[in-house]
Structure formats: C-alpha cells, structure tokens
Amino acid sequence: MKFLTTVGLTLLLLTFESVAVKYLGLSVTRIDVTVAVVAFLSLRASTVEGAISSFVVGYLLDLMSGRPTGLYTFLAVLTFLIGRLATSLVDVRSAAVFVIFTMAADLGHGLLAIFFSWLTSRDAAFGSNLSALPLQVALTGLAALLLYPLFRKFDSGAERSEVGLLR
C-alpha cells in the first residue's frame, strides 16, 4: 500500500471506530484496526517503507488516544518488525490466514501494551485489561476479515514469489 493511502485509511478507520464505540458505549472493547493495517504492511511493504508507515500508524493511534505517550508508536514498529520476521516462515495469501496472522499480532500487541502500561503506572487495570484481551483479539480478527479485501484493493504491489510454509 502506498504511504499516503495507508495514512488516510488509518485515519479514517480510527475516526470511524472512535465514533462507533461512542455510540455503542464506552464499555465495548476496542478493535485494533491499526494492528490489522500493520499486519498487512508486514506482508507487503519493504522493511524501511513498512517501518516508516507503521511508525505513522502508531503515531496516529497515540494521537487519537488523547494522551500520546509514544507507546503505540513503538508497538506498531515492533509489531511490524516481528511480522516481517514471521513472514519468512509463513506465506499469507488467503483472507483466513491473514485473520489468524492479524489475531496473533494483536495478541502480542495487546499483551505488550498491557505490560508496558502496567510497568509505568502499576495500576489496578492489569487484570481487567487482560480479561478483555480475548474479545479484543476476536473482534480484531473479524475486522481483519472485513478489511482484507479493502487492503488488497488499495495494494497495487506485484504478486510475491512462492515462499513460506502456510498458504
């Protein structure tokens, strides 16, 4: 996906989620749309291009969070790099495998976010955040399934060679 397309799409998805969660109630768990974007970038973009795009995607999430700390920017780049490593083993070509790939990325992303938040504030939310994680991962997987055709449409990149273990 082109850089500006990634930024525009992320902004649109985050804004939509922000409004949708407001209407559905604050208690509804969040959907990590940014993780789906980063997961797709780790499949298609080159390391530097993807790292820059992931940085911007994470920055946007930080910005929309109301209290930017840099945590989500860091986690987006880290998730991208781990995703890049994973793609040397796994070739993601179908929507179903992309959903599993995104859910795994979101699980790692979510655990790290909870861990780092706890590390700095030692708050009592550790347990409640952890218990909300499975639903968050499941919803992110669902979002990935819906977003995959859209990502592919925006992605004008060439087809990749036959590599990986899982298709």
């Binding site: 902004l11 990590d32 530097v48 930080d62 910005l63 929309m64 955040n129």
Partner: protein, 291 residues
C-alpha cells in the same frame, strides 16, 4: 564513517523508528502531551471526519427513531435536556455550596461565593486505545477551554481536560488508571483520594485513615484540595469498604455517580485559574496526601 552509515542506512532508520518512541514513552514527560503543530494539523483533519460520521450516525438514528414531524419535538427535547442538565448540575452544586456557606457564615461570617461558569459540550468520540479511558468533546481553545479544566455532568464528575486544540478537546476520565482526585466523604467530611481502576464503573478510595468514619453507602464528593476540581462535585458512592485490624489506612470501592459508558453531553467548568493537570507534581501530591 560515511560509508559505514550509508551501508547501514536501513538498520539505522529502523532502529531510530523503534527506539525514539520507546524512549519518549519511558521518559513520560507530561509536556510531550501538549500538541505540536503536526499534532494540531492531524487532529484538525480528523475533527471534520468525526463530525461527518456523527452526522451520518445521527441521521440514520433519526430516521430510525421517528417521522419527520417529530424532528421539531426532538430538537426541542434536546434543548430542554441540555438546559435541564445544566440546572440539575447547578442545584447539586448549590446544595453543597449552601452547606459550606452555612458553616463558614457561622464560623467566620464569610461572604457567599458564586460558582464557576460552565460550558456545555457534546461528546464526539471515544479514544480507540484500550488502555486509556478518554473521550473527545466538541469544544476547544476557541471556546476558552484550557488543559486542566474539570469536566462534569449533572450527575457528577467526569474527568479533566487533557489536551486542547482549536475546536475540540480530549478529556481523560476519572476512571482512567492514571487519574487521582482529592475527595471527601460528604457525611463525615473525611478526606481521601479517589483513583481510577481502569474500568468504566469503578474507582478506588485510598489514603483514608483507618480510624476515620467511613461507611458503605456514603456519598463521596470532591474536596477541592487538589486545586483541580471545585469542592462539592459528586464523585460517587462507597460500595465495599475494606478495613483491617492492622495498617494505617482503610480502602474502599466507589461506584461513580456518572455512567461513563452513556455520556453524550458534558459540562466543562471554566475555572478562573486553570490548574495544571493532575499529573502535575504539586496537584498530584495534593491529591495523594489529601487526608
């Protein structure tokens, strides 16, 4: 040297992209939360999109809910609800101010003070990050809002303005784990600290001495000693008290008076001297050492 840099350019770029935000996060400088020019530009871009989404959602909801003829009634109803909310908030505050004034008059013959002006704002959206509880309202710098202003509804305290840009602001809720406010038990005037638990329906009462008179069902209001919230705003009700036979303090859970999941309109209290955010060391220390 230059060749070495050139050869490892990709590695350097990726390392910077990874380590810079990590360093920012670990440094946790509150000043970094102030929006810079780039932040403002991006936020300014999202605001119209958010409004467009809200407009679409509202339009769909209006169509769903009623006929065109009912639209006038709904608009009037919205206006009345807003007015009602403001009046109920005033009444709540007045009761506390009156009680305070009675005590002061009896003791020191103080003159009656007037409450701070309030500004109604609409909730635009909720932040998409799971570990931070905050929301965005449709009032900003252009309406005179500043960082650190308290936010409430007729039912009680909501949070504090964390970041302000042109036409909107982000409000961190009192249920956010980083939130600490100075409170007192309305019945016995015991001072304590209410901290967020990261859940939408729970706060934690801390720093109340074990010997102090606190009971389940007691109403908790802001004490005003943190320099952020004016005194007398309703915070919630004590639900479960934990008092052991040892230790210096007792603790309890507080059920917030405001249901944070159903917020649509809020009131920003435009305090004359806008205090620093609660993370400001002085205000935070005041909140933490309330008793």
């Amino acid at each position: 040297m230059l060749r070495l840099l050139k050869r490892n350019r990709d590695l350097i770029v990726v390392s910077v992209l990874l380590l810079y935000p990590l360093a920012t996060f670990l440094a946790r400088r509150p000043a970094a939360w102030e929006p810079n020019i780039l932040d403002r530009a991006v936020l300014a871009l999202t605001a119209p999109v958010q409004r467009a989404f809200i407009w679409t959602f509202d339009g769909a909801r209006s169509l769903w809910k009623g006929y065109a003829a009912l639209r006038g009634v709904r608009a009037e109803n919205l206006g009345l609800r807003e007015e009602n909310q403001r009046l109920r908030s005033d009444t709540n505050q007045l009761a506390e101010v009156r009680a305070e004034n009675d005590r002061l008059r009896r003791l020191l013959d103080y003159a009656q003070t007037s409450p701070d002006p309030q500004l109604a704002a609409r909730v635009l959206g909720v932040n998409p990050a799971a570990t931070i509880l905050s929301l965005r309202i449709d009032r900003g710098e252009s309406d005179g809002l500043r960082r650190g202003m308290p936010v409430a509804t007729a039912d009680g305290v909501v949070g504090i303005v964390q970041r302000v840009t042109g036409s909107f602001a982000d409000v961190v809720l009192i249920t956010d784990p980083n939130s600490k406010i100075a409170v007192k038990v309305q019945r016995s005037r015991v001072r304590a600290t209410a901290t967020g638990k990261g859940e939408n329906r729970a706060l934690h009462l801390e720093n109340a001495l074990r010997t102090e008179d606190v009971q389940e069902g007691d109403v908790v209001v802001t004490s005003g000693t943190d320099g952020v919230f004016p005194p007398g705003l309703l915070v919630g009700r004590i639900t479960s008290l934990q008092r052991h036979n040892y230790g210096m303090v007792q603790s309890a859970d507080i059920l917030p008076a405001v249901d944070m999941t159903k917020l649509e309109e809020v009131l920003v209290i435009r305090t004359r001297a806008a205090p620093a955010h609660v993370s400001n060391p002085q205000a935070r220390r005041a909140a933490e050492t309330a008793p």
